[in-house]
């Protein structure tokens, strides 16, 4: 299997890395860069999966003196650590991606918003930015081209909801980390009301990699709807937790757990959360699904952020449900009613269930209704997805066992 990120560059210093993707991009017109990204089929790797090229093209098409690129490095999805891996190990490739997206969209200013808990990553990226300024890869007339670009690092204060792009923008502006009403979408009115691209760390690193080649190996990998590779971070009850690069469609979820992560630690797999705790769980019987956006969606779940969590059958599932519901209760920004009240109430109900050891059918009904309301009417992606895992676990493991 071809590995794009992980086979090379690891551990390379700036002296060895010469920004091939950026150099290629600077020799092209912005629209050509965008065309190449579009051809690659790259979709946003933060969780939503929006086509990257289209996002860039929209911002390029808007005439404005000031546009912004934001690299969303507020990776807070529990069980997800692939962005941290990239920031710590391949900082130059991430920064290269940011500069390329700036060039492609006509933006002269970029921000990288790193979650405050990533102390090591912040140190490394900060140093990397300084080096890029020294080497004229950031600043005025980058690499003697006409293109100038400035990049600033912003530390998040540690709110999971700031992973939502509009909350992140509010946070950079110094406001409360809470979501904004969409529309307007950030591509039209984002940071300080200006057209803004918000891309995930992995998306930008992938974009840099794509620009590295004359041909387009990315578009040749994966399936039609899920092209290229995806970094998967695996944790939980596995023998070899870590970050793995997976070509879409080549492996099933079971293969990833068994072959890459060394199999389950314990008797057998209870369930797998494929993409962070905002995604629905897959039971042991459901693991033979090829790892692609479309196949996981068919199973009622999602690629999400790529944070795969494996849970052994020996675990107390209710304890996991309780942890997850407490997490969402604490992390909702508290602005919209369904998300604030829904997560608050679910956490209380789940706590009762945990104490008792089993749910009642009435509790499952209300959990299902709250999930339905919150996912239908919440203000941002946080609320929409916050109860997916909890409901799926109850549906898959408890509906038949409950006492009425």
């Amino acid at each position: 299997m071809e590995k794009i990120f992980l086979k090379k560059d690891l551990g390379k210093s700036l002296e060895e890395y010469d920004f091939p993707g950026l150099k290629n991009a600077l020799n092209m017109e912005p629209q050509q860069v965008i065309n190449k990204i579009k051809e690659s089929g790259l979709r946003g790797r933060g969780g939503a999966g929006f086509p990257t090229g289209i996002k860039w093209e929209t911002v390029l098409s808007i005439e404005d003196d000031t546009k912004f690129i934001i690299c969303n490095a507020d990776e807070g999805e529990p069980g997800t650590f692939k962005d941290r891996f990239l920031l710590e190990n391949l900082p130059f490739k991430v920064l290269e991606g940011i500069i390329i997206s700036g060039y492609a969209t006509g933006s002269k200013y970029g921000y990288i918003y790193i979650r405050g808990e990533y102390v090591e990553a912040i140190k490394i990226v900060k140093k990397a930015i300084e080096k890029l300024y020294e080497k004229n890869i950031l600043g005025e007339n980058i690499l003697n081209s006409d293109f100038s670009f400035d990049l600033k690092l912003v530390r998040g204060a540690g709110a999971y909801v700031c992973g939502d792009e509009t909350s992140l923008i509010n946070s950079i502006e110094g406001d409360r980390g809470k979501s904004r009403i969409k529309p307007p979408l950030p591509v039209f009115e984002g940071l300080y009301g200006k057209p803004t691209v918000v891309n995930n760390v992995e998306t930008l690193a992938a974009a840099a990699e794509i620009m590295n080649y004359d041909n387009n190996p990315y578009s040749e990998m994966g399936t039609e709807k899920s092209r290229g590779t995806k970094l998967v971070s695996i944790s939980g009850d596995v023998n070899k937790p870590g970050v793995y690069e997976v070509e879409f469609g080549k492996l099933t979820v079971r293969d990833i757990v068994q072959e890459l992560a060394g199999g389950v630690k314990g008797e057998k797999i209870g369930f797998v959360i494929p993409g962070g705790i905002s995604t629905e769980a897959l039971t042991e019987e459901e693991l033979d699904v090829p790892y692609t956006y479309e196949n996981l969606q068919k199973m009622g779940s999602n690629i999400g952020s790529g944070g795969m969590i494996v849970v052994s059958s020996q675990r107390n599932y209710l304890e996991i449900v309780k942890n997850v519901s407490d997490f969402f209760r604490d992390e909702t920004c508290g602005t919209c009613f369904p998300c604030r009240e829904g997560n608050k109430n679910i956490s209380k109900i789940v706590s009762d269930i945990y104490k008792r050891g089993y749910p009642t059918s009435k509790e499952i009904e209300i959990i299902s209704d709250i999930q339905y309301a919150v996912s239908s009417a919440a203000r941002c992606g946080f609320g929409e997805s916050s109860l997916n895992l909890i409901l799926s676990l109850f549906e898959k493991f408890y509906t038949k066992k409950v006492e009425v």
């Binding site: 992390e331 919209c336 009613f337 604030r340 009240e341 109900i349």
Partner: protein, 569 residues
């Protein structure tokens, strides 16, 4: 733009929100965080509607219609979602034996009750959650009961967007999100103007005035006390709303009769002291104008406005008229002139005010004029007392105010609406300066509910530039313009509340633009119907000067009717 709402086609010529479009189609969509005076906020999500082709529901308040849009306002998904959200809201609304609907300040005007009924909530399946936040009783005017707060942000937004006072804010995150004041200091310890607009905006019982009904009941049943009452001009055009009458119903005579039935010894009118205020203020203006005194002169009737200026623009304190407000002038005259006339001591007299205003409760305890007034009740509190006493207000035979402090002119009456003080002052100033009778008494330019109104009035060849400002957000704008030299005026009327006193924080709920306009019409109707329409022609005022005060701005006047201010920044 053509849209389909519930399979019917509608056409709109410009882009509007789905909420406005459905209003046009006579379909009501429930809302909680939405308010006509505030920017749409999109947080309660009760207005969520289904749009064909959209993955999730969209909030009608912040979603604009687009050509060809197909909207469903009560589909299965919409109904189910709204019902669940409403259940969650009710569960977090401090429902317990101590905090039930029966004892709530908004028991008769509760929006969540109304909406729960519209949505058809029939059971609450989730356990109630009690946030345990303490009550804020630090203010003389306003009480906060955060256990009842549903964090809809309307008070925060009203205080900021409309009033530009910004004393309320959101703190914390998630389940701990709550409304508070700077550093949790409490409403009484921050730059709150006590205007009470937050109370009008609150859909639940989380905000209400500091009640003084019990103290008034006690005074009324204390036989050693002579209890008199004054009613502000804006109360008579609003009180009937509390008894299900149409807004704009004038109930002066019924209210007077009702007050007598409650047991007040004398029922007087703040309109009387409004006339007195005009005598002093118009003369103060003329004196400043002639002697190159500090101009523009700012009115000082609205205690919310006065405190706003003291906090935010202390450099302008000398521009404030030194006149006490009509409420305080009334108290001062009642406890001296009138008490002497009756031969009773000041200590045995209790002065109660019925005000459309919550800031009057604070004004009463200002050390500069403490003792003038003993208790202040809002329009809402008076209605509660009437109800408790079983007074069927709309059907009580009308009665007249007592004399002499119940005699007033149309000029006193219009104090209740924005522009009224200015108009009343101009009526008097014109005749005092020119010595001629004013032909047209109505100064239309200063009427209406626009936030800032300007007029130039020619008197004896002098062009007087005046402005009328209502709402503290507008006050800030005007003060900034005066400060920057962009505007020059001679005389400016400021009222803290949008619409003036008729839109005051103590008025019936709801108080919205439509209702304010109806109350305003009623105020001008009262003025038109009165035989005397100028303050200086009020015979009781003339007598008061002859017998007691001598003349406007006399030593006695200064002692009783004028006050000082305090820089609070």
């Amino acid at each position: 733009m053509k849209v389909k709402i519930n399979n019917r086609e509608y056409e709109f010529d410009h882009e509007i929100s789905i909420l406005d479009a459905t209003k046009n189609a006579h379909i009501k969509i429930p809302t909680l965080c939405y308010s006509e005076k505030l920017e749409p906020f999109g947080s309660c999500r009760l207005c969520s509607v289904e749009i064909k082709g959209e993955r999730t529901l969209k909030p009608a308040c912040v979603t604009k219609i687009t050509d060809g849009m197909e909207i469903f306002t009560h589909s299965q998904r919409v109904r189910k979602t709204r019902k669940t959200i409403m259940e969650l809201i009710i569960a977090s609304h401090g429902i317990s034996c101590n905090l039930n609907c029966l004892t709530c300040s908004k028991s008769g005007s509760c929006e969540i009750k109304e909406i729960a009924e519209e949505i058809g909530v029939t059971e609450i399946r989730v356990p109630p959650i009690y946030n345990g936040l303490p009550e804020d009783r630090s203010s003389y005017s306003i009480v906060r009961e955060p256990q009842k707060c549903i964090v809809c942000n309307r008070c925060v937004r009203k205080c900021s967007e409309v009033q530009s006072v910004n004393i309320l804010t959101i703190a914390n995150r998630g389940p701990d999100t709550y409304v508070t004041t700077f550093m949790d200091k409490g409403m009484g310890n921050v730059d709150c103007t006590n205007c009470g607009q937050c109370i009008l905006e609150c859909p639940t019982g989380a905000l209400h005035e500091v009640y003084q009904m019990d103290q008034v009941w006690n005074a009324l049943s204390d036989e050693s006390k002579f209890v008199i009452v004054q009613t502000a001009p804006a109360v008579r055009v609003a009180i009937a709303e509390e008894f299900e009458a149409e807004p704009g119903k004038i109930a002066t005579g019924q209210m007077v009769a009702g007050l007598r039935l409650l047991g007040f010894d004398k029922v007087f009118d703040t309109n009387f002291s409004a006339d007195l205020t005009i005598m002093e203020e118009a003369n103060e203006f003329l004196e400043r104008f002639k002697n190159n005194g500090k101009l523009p002169l700012f009115t000082s009737c609205s205690p919310g406005w006065v405190k706003f200026l003291e906090h935010n623009y202390p450099d302008f304190i000398d521009n404030l008229s030194s006149c006490k407000s009509p409420q305080q002038m009334f108290g001062a005259i009642a406890k001296t002139y009138y008490a002497n006339k009756l031969g009773i001591s000041k200590e045995d007299m209790v002065v109660v005010s019925i005000m459309p205003c919550t800031a009057k409760k604070f004004e009463r305890v200002r050390p500069e004029m403490k003792g003038d007034v003993d208790y202040v009740l809002t329009t809402r509190e008076l209605a509660k007392m009437f109800k408790l006493a079983g007074i069927d207000l709309l059907n009580v035979p009308t009665e007249d105010y007592d004399e002499p402090l119940g005699i007033s002119s149309g000029a006193g009456a219009i104090f209740g609406a924005t522009g009224g003080v200015m108009e009343a002052a101009l009526r008097t100033a014109y005749e005092v300066i020119t010595g001629e009778e004013l032909e047209k008494l109505d100064f239309e330019a200063v009427r209406g509910i626009e936030g800032i109104k300007e007029a130039t009035v020619e008197i004896n060849g002098i062009n007087l530039k005046v402005a009328v400002v209502n709402g503290l957000g507008n006050a800030r704008k005007v003060l900034e313009m005066i400060k920057n030299g962009e505007k020059e005026y001679h005389f400016v009327e400021f009222m803290a509340c949008p619409g003036g006193c008729i839109g005051g924080g103590g008025q019936p709920i709801p108080t919205n633009n439509e209702i304010i306009l109806k109350r305003m019409q009623a105020i001008y109707e009262i003025d038109r119907s009165l035989p005397i329409r100028k303050s200086h022609e009020n015979p009781a005022i003339k007598t008061l000067y002859e017998e007691f005060l001598e003349e406007p701005l006399s030593e006695k006047s200064h002692e009783l009717l004028h006050t000082t201010y305090l820089a609070r920044s």
